[in-house]
C-alpha cells in the first residue's frame, strides 16, 4: 500500500526558496561572480526559481546554466541502463566563478559526484557550492550540501517527490511510503 504525506505545501515551498536565496547571498556577499547551475531535469527549474528570487532581492539576474550529467554517471558504464542524454547549456566560462549547483533531492550523492566531474571538464571554478531542496540521507559517497531546503529523514524504501509548477502544475514536497 502506498501512503502519501505532504511535507511542504505551496506557501512553504516559496518561503523555502526565499530563505535559500538569502543564504546564498549571505555566503557569497552578493551576486558578483556568482553562477547558478541546475542539474537536469528538475534542478534546472529550481535553479531558475532561485535565480528570479535573487533578482528580486539584488536587482540583477545571476548567470544561469543547465548541466546534464548523464555521460558522467557511473551506472551507465556498468551497463545498468542507457539514460536519455540531453545537452548541457552553460553559455559562460565557469573559470574563477563561484558556482552554485542546484539539485532537487540529495540522496546517494552519486549524481552530484558526476556533476563535479562534469564541471571540472568545463573549467576551473573558484568555488563549487551545492543547494539541495531536500536532503534525505543515505549517502554512498562523501558529499554534503551547503544549502538545504529541508532535511527529511527517510528509509530506503520511501520516495521523496518534489513537485514543480513547470512540470507538475503545482509546487510542494511529498513523502511516499510503500508498505506491503
Amino acid at each position: 500500500m502506498k501512503t502519501l504525506q505532504n511535507i511542504i505545501d505551496e506557501h512553504g515551498f516559496d518561503r523555502m526558496l526565499s530563505r535559500l536565496a538569502h543564504e546564498i547571498l549571505e555566503r557569497n556577499l552578493g551576486l558578483d561572480n556568482l553562477a547558478i547551475i541546475g542539474l537536469r531535469t528538475r534542478g534546472e527549474f529550481v535553479a531558475q526559481r532561485l535565480a528570479s528570487k535573487l533578482e528580486k532581492i539584488e536587482g540583477t539576474l545571476p548567470e544561469l546554466g543547465v548541466l546534464d550529467v548523464t555521460l558522467y554517471r557511473d551506472d551507465v558504464r556498468q551497463h545498468l541502463r542507457t539514460p536519455e542524454v540531453r545537452a548541457t547549456d552553460i553559455a559562460f566560462d565557469i573559470t574563477d566563478k563561484n558556482v552554485v549547483l542546484v539539485d532537487d533531492v540529495l540522496f546517494t550523492g552519486r549524481t552530484v559526484r558526476s556533476a563535479l566531474n562534469a564541471l571540472v571538464d568545463l573549467g576551473r571554478a573558484r568555488t563549487i557550492q551545492l543547494v539541495a531542496l531536500v536532503d534525505r540521507g543515505h549517502r554512498e559517497v562523501p558529499i554534503r550540501a551547503d544549502f538545504i531546503g529541508k532535511n527529511i529523514p527517510t528509509s530506503r524504501g520511501q520516495e521523496v517527490r518534489v513537485h514543480l509548477k513547470e512540470v507538475d502544475g503545482h509546487d510542494g514536497i511529498d513523502l511516499v511510503s510503500i508498505e506491503d
Binding site: L71, R81, T82, V85, R86, A87, D121, G123
Partner: protein, 308 residues
C-alpha cells in the same frame, strides 16, 4: 524510450523511426561536448573499440576514432593493407582473433555488402557498419539527416533529392532508407546507367533531368563521382557529366529560392559540384563533418551502453 531496439548498427533498412529519432536527438549533447575546452567525457571508459577497416578510408576512420576517444574508449586500429588478410586469413578468422582479445565494439568497413551482418551473427561483439560495399553506410546517412534537421527543423514532408552515382553508393542507399522512415519525400537523379538494379523497390521518385530534380528539392545530397572506380564507363566524359548533372551556381540561381546542399566528401570540384556552390552560403558540407563526430559518439554511446 531511451534505449535502442537494435543491438548492432548494420544499416538503416528496417531500423524503426524511434531508434533513428533517438540517435538524432542524442546528438545535440555530443555536439555541445565538441565545443568545450576539454572535449572528452568518461562514458565509455574501460570499453575497447576496434576500427576494422578492410577498405581504405581516411575521414570516416578519423571521425570514428575521434568519437571513440572523446568518449574515453580504448581504441585499436586495424588496416587490411598491413594485416594478416594479406596472408590469406578468412574474414571470420580475423574477426574471431580480434574478438578473442576481448573487444566490446567493432567498427567495420569492408568492400563486400553484408560483411558486418555476417560477422554480427557469428561473434559476440557489437558491430557498427562504417560502409559495406555498395550496400549501406548508416552513420553517414544519420549525419546527413542530422545536418538537414538542424537546417530545416524536421525531416517530415521535406523533399530530398540524391544526385549522382546512386547504383554504387552506399551513402545513397542508407539515406533513402532512413529518410523514407523519417517521413521525407525522397528522389534520385543521375544518368540511368548509374541507377541501381532495384530502383523501383526503393520507393523513390526518379529524375533524369537535373533542373527538374532541383525544382522538386528542398535539399540535395550530391554524391561523389568515384573516379577511382572507373566511373567513366557509365558516362562519356567528366565534362559531359558536369554539363548534364553538375550542381552550378547558375542552376541554383535559376530556382529563385534557397536549397540546402550536402555532399558526403571528398569533393571533385568542377565535376559533380562547382566550387562556388560547395563553398557557397547554401552548402552545409563542413557542418556535416562536425556532425559526423557527434553522431558517431551518439551511436557508440547508445550501442555501447545498451543493456544485454
Amino acid at each position: 524510450m531511451s534505449s535502442l531496439s537494435i543491438p548492432h548498427l548494420l544499416g538503416l533498412q528496417g531500423v524503426p523511426k524511434e531508434d533513428i529519432s533517438l540517435i538524432l536527438d542524442s546528438t545535440d549533447s555530443f555536439l555541445e561536448i565538441l565545443d568545450r575546452p576539454i572535449k572528452k567525457v568518461p562514458t565509455l571508459q574501460g570499453k575497447t573499440v576496434v576500427n576494422l577497416f578492410f577498405e581504405n578510408s581516411t575521414r570516416t576512420r578519423i571521425s570514428f576514432e575521434l568519437a571513440e576517444r572523446r568518449l574515453s574508449a580504448d581504441v585499436v586500429n586495424f588496416a587490411a593493407s598491413s594485416s594478416s588478410v594479406k596472408k590469406g586469413e578468412t574474414l571470420l578468422d580475423t574477426a574471431r582473433n580480434i574478438e578473442a582479445m576481448k573487444v566490446d565494439i567493432v567498427v567495420m568497413r569492408h568492400s563486400a555488402a553484408g560483411a558486418g551482418h555476417f560477422l554480427s551473427e557469428r561473434c559476440t561483439s557489437r558491430f557498427i557498419n562504417a560502409g559495406d560495399g555498395a550496400h549501406e553506410h548508416p552513420t553517414q546517412a544519420l549525419l546527413d539527416m542530422c545536418t538537414i534537421r538542424q537546417k530545416h527543423g524536421s525531416l517530415e514532408g521535406l523533399n530530398v533529392c540524391i544526385i549522382g552515382d546512386i547504383g554504387h553508393s552506399r551513402v545513397a542507399r542508407s539515406n533513402i532508407y532512413g529518410l523514407i522512415t523519417m517521413g521525407a519525400n525522397v528522389a534520385v537523379c543521375g544518368p540511368p546507367s548509374m541507377f541501381p538494379y532495384d530502383l523501383e523497390k526503393l520507393g523513390v521518385r526518379v529524375f533524369t533531368n537535373i533542373d527538374e530534380a532541383l525544382q522538386f528539392s528542398d535539399v540535395i545530397n550530391v554524391l561523389r563521382i568515384q573516379l577511382e572506380r572507373d566511373a567513366g564507363a557509365d558516362f562519356p566524359s567528366l565534362r559531359e557529366y558536369h554539363n548534364s548533372f553538375g550542381i552550378t551556381r547558375e542552376r541554383l540561381d535559376k530556382l529563385g529560392r534557397e536549397i540546402t546542399v550536402l555532399h558526403p566528401g571528398p569533393i571533385n570540384r568542377g565535376v559533380e559540384i562547382e566550387s562556388e556552390v560547395a563553398d557557397g552560403p547554401y552548402s552545409v558540407i563542413l557542418p556535416q563533418v562536425t556532425n559526423g563526430v557527434a553522431i558517431r559518439m551518439a551511436v557508440l554511446y547508445l550501442i555501447g551502453t545498451r543493456a544485454e
